[in-house]
Amino acid sequence: MNAVLQTTTEPCAQPLTGSHPMPANDPLPDTPVLEVRGLDIKLPSGGDRRLAVQGASFTLQAGQTLCVVGESGSGKSMIANAIMGLLPRPHVEPVAGQILFDGQDLLQLNEAQMRELRGHRIGMVFQEPMTALNPVMRIGEQLAEVFDAHLRLGAAEKRSRILAALADVGLPDPALLIDSYPFRLSGGQRQRVMIACAMLLEPRLLIADEPTTALDVTTQAQILKLMRELQQRRGMALLFITHDFGVVSEIADHVVVMQTGQVVEAGPARQVLSQPSHPYTQKLIAAIPQGEPVIREGEPDPLHVLQVQDLCKTYTSGGGLFRKGRQVSAAKNVNFELRRGQTLGLVGESGSGKSSVGRCIVGLAPFESGRILFKGRNLMSGAALRQQAKGKIQMVFQDPYASLNPRHRIGPTLAAGPIAQGVPRDVAMARALELLQLVGLGPEAADRFPHEFSGGQRQRIGIARALAMEPELLVADEPVSALDVSVQAQVLKLFAEVRERFQLAMVFITHDLRVAGEMCDHIAVMQRGQVVEYGPSAEVLRNPQHDYTRRLIEAIPRLNAHQD
């Protein structure tokens, strides 16, 4: 409570609480740290709806965690930005309601007063740790800026406090890190730095906007643990924005579920998770992959579509005419095989080499040694492989926003491949329309441009484009990791459907063991370019042999975390 008194004695706080009945210098002990009342945020005209957020209300007490959950476009990040005063006014601005922070309405503050609060009383952690740090500033200098903005401190004290903060978030070797540039840090380490930065002045309220979405499962688990610890130790309030109910169950005390700008359900986490009352919440919870391995009946098809034998791939970075570059092994003696109609999951964290293996199989990257056999036929490497495969090996890409040419309409995009293989134009266009139907989009989609579609729809188009070539092997590189959980479930279902229908062999690359368990017959777990565990999904998930696999499985956020 000490902290509360401290805020209210700040000069800027006093004249601004007039509209609020509570006396500013004597907050009751149960004053919530944050109270949002009937908040409306308007969108610029021409948006998909008039209000981005409509009538949002919730409260957050000190020492508690509130999760705001919803799909992308539900307005959850808008609320966070409104609290921080970061909305791009005047196009997007709050038009009604109050945001009370320690009893003081943030919407009434001017920019200078908000600046005083930001970083000092309210901290924020963003989604993308790779871009949140300035690449040309040392870590220590960036953290020192927070002090410079709010306090007058000597250089020595600043340094010692930054070192303590870095140690506090569990970074190894703070003394070394403080003088490093961000590129030396991994994604998880950068997110720790961002958290250290937000926590530097011990804010009352920490806002975390999807802080773990861009991270691997194991790193996510570590970061969530760290945030929970810090929060309990400091007794601050945490507003956590996420789309993943698995994360919610790990960290939340209270949950607010948002759909198209409106709060559809709110309550204690345990209650919302175990007895969701609103159909939207039920849908979101049901969409979480359970990671229950599916065992499919029937004899495996005798035809081996893909055999990978002792595949090796090294990247050389740096290096010049006379200097040898640094060599990184992306794949070291990778072996697996795949029959028709089966799916193999390649699972690992980022940097494990799983995507490199995928790119070697489709011929987008050359490999040094080993063999790739496609229907028993040995394939060359790189561009020659693409020629030999004649388009029968196709790929679905991770980023639905980069994988479609923004200047091409959907119809020609789908038809271009078959036309290049010699199919007559009208036949190819007719097939494109059929495929759009198959992936759940109407034929009218053919005349539209990619920017008119959502991420999930674009991924459907990406699948249709791969299917247009009538492939026999499909390599899917993290096809659902950029999508919301509910959309993810639909796209996974579509994958399963087309696999059955076309008897496709699939290599499914993912970092999410839950997804792999639902989709794949076999799983190969990769770590640092090597397959450390390979076997039927059920066995790998239920009875993992390798330490690394066990770690991955433990890191999965689970819905029942609260019941434990």
């Binding site: 196009h91 489709v362 987008l364 196709q394 790929m395 994988s403 271009a416 491949g417 290049a420 441009f449």
Partner: protein
């Protein structure tokens, strides 16, 4: 669905007042080019009146006459044809060279890129105006040789720009998808990547037309213009010896140059705004 995107282009373009002004000036120049012979009463090379007539001194010679008694209005009007012709054609030629070299370098990378870029640097290392003078002096000064000279000195920046665009666009997944479906390399370059690099190229082209007009004027000023074509640069050049006695001989063609180049630059900026969809939020 292309109509809304065109509309939004026009909306962003319109927001830039300078660009609208530039567009109007350019349309005026285009009208002058189209209907020039109707406006110009005389052959610009004919000595039709006494020399050193001041503007408005005599009916039918609104802008006066020059040191040889030639009509300045006719010169300015017909000079617009040469200036614009040379500006546009030389830009097209240098785009052709620059885009091809830049696209090949950016798409293939590695040693192809290194070789082509060293070749480009060879041209960038020589002062472009000096090179243009040498080239025109080697060939006979004519419209063709001037176009060739301007094109040869102005393609390197285009090549650099296009190479940069191609280097990043090449990494996009839609290019990988096109490769997987077996599309040929020229097809990928022309239909997949080039349309996405079009915006900066268009903007640069509009600015290059302006530079080309300036280059042509400078060459003509030095007496290296086509001797059969009246041009603004030539008029300014021939008036420089009598600048203090007869200001109008240099000012009118000079103003024509300034206005046209300014208009092209403003339009270029407007195109930049219009083609840059990211500015949309800042309406």
């Amino acid at each position: 669905m292309s109509s809304p995107s065109k509309n939004s282009f026009w909306r962003r373009f319109r927001r830039n007042r300078g660009a609208l002004f530039g567009l109007m000036v350019l349309m005026l120049v285009a009208l002058v080019v189209a209907f020039g012979p109707l406006l110009a009463a005389h052959d610009p090379w004919d000595m039709v009146e006494q020399p050193f007539l001041q503007p408005g001194q005599q009916n039918g010679f609104a802008l006066g006459t020059d040191t040889m008694g030639r009509d300045i209005l006719s010169g300015v009007v017909l000079g617009a044809r040469v200036s614009l012709l040379i500006g546009i054609v030389s830009t097209l030629v240098s785009l052709l060279i620059g885009v091809s070299i830049g696209a090949v370098a950016g798409y293939f990378g590695r040693w192809v890129d290194a070789t082509l870029m060293r070749f480009t640097e060879l041209f960038q290392a020589i002062p472009s105006f000096a090179l243009a003078i040498v080239l025109v002096a080697i060939f006979e000064p004519s419209v063709k040789s001037i176009v060739a000279a301007i094109a040869i000195v102005s393609w390197p920046p285009v090549a650099r720009l296009v190479r940069g665009e191609f280097l990043t666009l090449r990494q996009r997944d839609f290019v990988a998808a096109a490769q997987l479906s077996g599309q040929s390399t020229p097809r990928i370059i022309l239909t997949q990547i080039l349309p996405n690099a079009a915006s900066p190229i268009v903007v640069m082209a509009s600015l290059m037309v302006a530079t080309a007009i300036l280059l042509e004027s400078s060459l003509s000023f030095l007496g290296l213009g086509d001797p059969n074509q009246m041009s603004w640069g030539y008029m300014v050049g021939s008036a420089r010896t009598v600048l203090r006695q007869a200001w109008w001989m240099a000012v009118f063609p000079g103003a024509a140059i300034v206005l046209t180049v300014l208009a092209l630059n403003l339009v270029g900026e407007g195109l930049n705004d219009g083609l840059n969809a990211r500015l949309d939020g800042r309406r």
